[in-house]
């Protein structure tokens, strides 16, 4: 049986005790998936998994607190689930995790860039192990998975769900690469270049808050300080400074919590490379506290605790 059939069987056996199971279905065309809330066995037929099922469904979990929910997770999504559990934002007893062994997902941004023309409506998609062929406006383009895989998948260290009541598929190897070339290239730039880059890039931001809404760790929802008027953390003018300030609020609140699922960057309508900031912050957390969010249960986020003598922090003398 294919992993999808295994998954369907597993969900079918648990569906009775659950209010819903969150998965993916085909979206408005074959290239795009969209989240699916499975409430009955009939819904189960629409379930899809694979490289096009890009969303991190853990984002929905805090909002469904108090309900019995099943969730399908890839390796990266499972880190978000673990992090939410560690922070007591969701309850383990109310949760059934269906884990996948993931071989990577696509980046729709890269697909869009690789196609000769903007495809508009995609008529047919044919998936094989390492190619994706897309038919749009009567034209078929064959793309290699390696070229269109999401950045996070190229350095994926946790392809298999780290937490799962049911694990489906055959376990995948983690990637050898641990850093991205574009990240290193950006970090090597001078302060002035980085400043100019953010100034230019943030002038594109339309402050739609999609990055915040897609983030599984952004759980304040209506109480987000960036939309509060008292205190007024963030002005309403759409200037690069205020837009950057919003991103810094986001990153600051994710310190030691970000699981690098990349939903912020995927959700951004104006292609701001938000993960440059997130990855850098995570690297600092890793360096100082040897902490990687969402990789083990019972971890305490590093900023919620302290040591009297910090080995990782070198105090500067005067």
């Amino acid at each position: 049986m294919s992993p999808l059939d295994d998954l369907k069987t597993a969900i079918k056996s648990r569906l009775g005790e659950l209010d819903c199971v969150i998965g993916w279905e085909q979206g408005y065309d074959q290239l795009h998936a969209t989240p699916l809330f499975i409430r009955s066995e009939a819904d189960l037929d629409r379930l899809v998994i694979g490289p096009l099922a890009v969303h991190n469904l853990a984002t929905y979990l805090p909002g469904l607190r108090g309900k019995k929910v099943g969730i399908i997770v890839k390796g990266c999504d499972s880190r978000s689930v673990i992090q939410l559990l560690n922070e007591n934002l969701i309850t383990r007893d109310d949760l059934v995790v269906f884990g996948l062994c993931c071989s990577g997902v696509v980046s729709h941004r890269k697909i869009r860039a690789a196609l000769p023309v903007d495809p508009g409506f995609v008529e047919a998609v044919d998936l094989s192990t390492d190619t994706l062929s897309i038919t749009a406006s009567g034209q078929t383009t064959i793309l290699h998975m390696a070229d269109i895989a999401a950045d996070k998948c190229q350095i994926c260290q946790y392809p298999n769900a780290l937490i799962a009541d049911v694990l489906v598929g055959s376990p995948q190897e983690s990637k050898v690469l641990t850093t991205l070339a574009c990240q290193e290239e950006f970090e090597a730039k001078s302060e002035a270049e980085k400043f100019a880059f953010w100034q230019e890039t943030m002038s594109r931001c339309i402050r739609c808050y999609a990055c915040r809404n897609a983030c599984p760790m952004c759980v304040c929802r209506d109480f987000c300080i960036s939309t509060s008027r008292d205190p007024l953390w963030l002005g309403q003018e759409n200037t690069p400074g205020e837009n950057m300030m919003f991103q810094l609020i986001h990153v600051s609140h994710l310190t030691g919590r970000c699981t690098e699922c990349g939903e912020c960057e995927r959700a951004c309508p104006v292609d701001i490379p938000l993960l440059l900031l997130r990855r850098y912050m995570n690297k600092q957390v890793q360096d100082v506290f040897e902490h990687r969010a969402g990789t083990a249960l019972e971890q305490t986020p590093p900023l919620l605790t302290f040591k009297v003598e910090e080995e990782g922090i070198k105090e500067r003398g005067w």
Binding site: C182, F186, T201, T239, M244, M245, T255, E310
Partner: protein, 163 residues
Amino acid sequence: MSPQNIRELRIVGFLCNWCSYGGADTAGVGRFVQPTDLRIIRVPCSGRIDPLFIVRAFMNGADGVLVSGCHPRDCHYAEGNFYARRRLEMLKRFLPITGIDNRRFEYTWVSASEGQRWQHVVTEFTRGIHTLGPAPSFNPVSETEWNKLAVQASEGQGCPCHG
């Protein structure tokens, strides 16, 4: 560094009520000469300082930010500065990626009796900020700069990996 012959820069200081604010006071009572660029904000504890206070100060045009609290183990609230140390260290390490020079931000510990140490810290920090000069502003000020941004945006520059 005397205020008479040099342009003042804007340096914001967040000082905890129990140690560093007292230390600054001791320095004042002792009539130690200090640079006058620092504007002090008194907070109950260094643990009260959200790293975003510092970010906000930079975004609002501060040229430097200095945070000072009680020495670790000496916190008036027992553990506030232990949490602060973690947060401030993460901010200090994070700043370079944003293009803000992290030498513009410093955190330190000064007790209420250390007037001289306070004088030393302020003098050194202010000297450092004057070496760096005024901080660049995120918000373009002139019409020409806005037009330049519009041209850049239409060219669609971005992260090299998303080009």
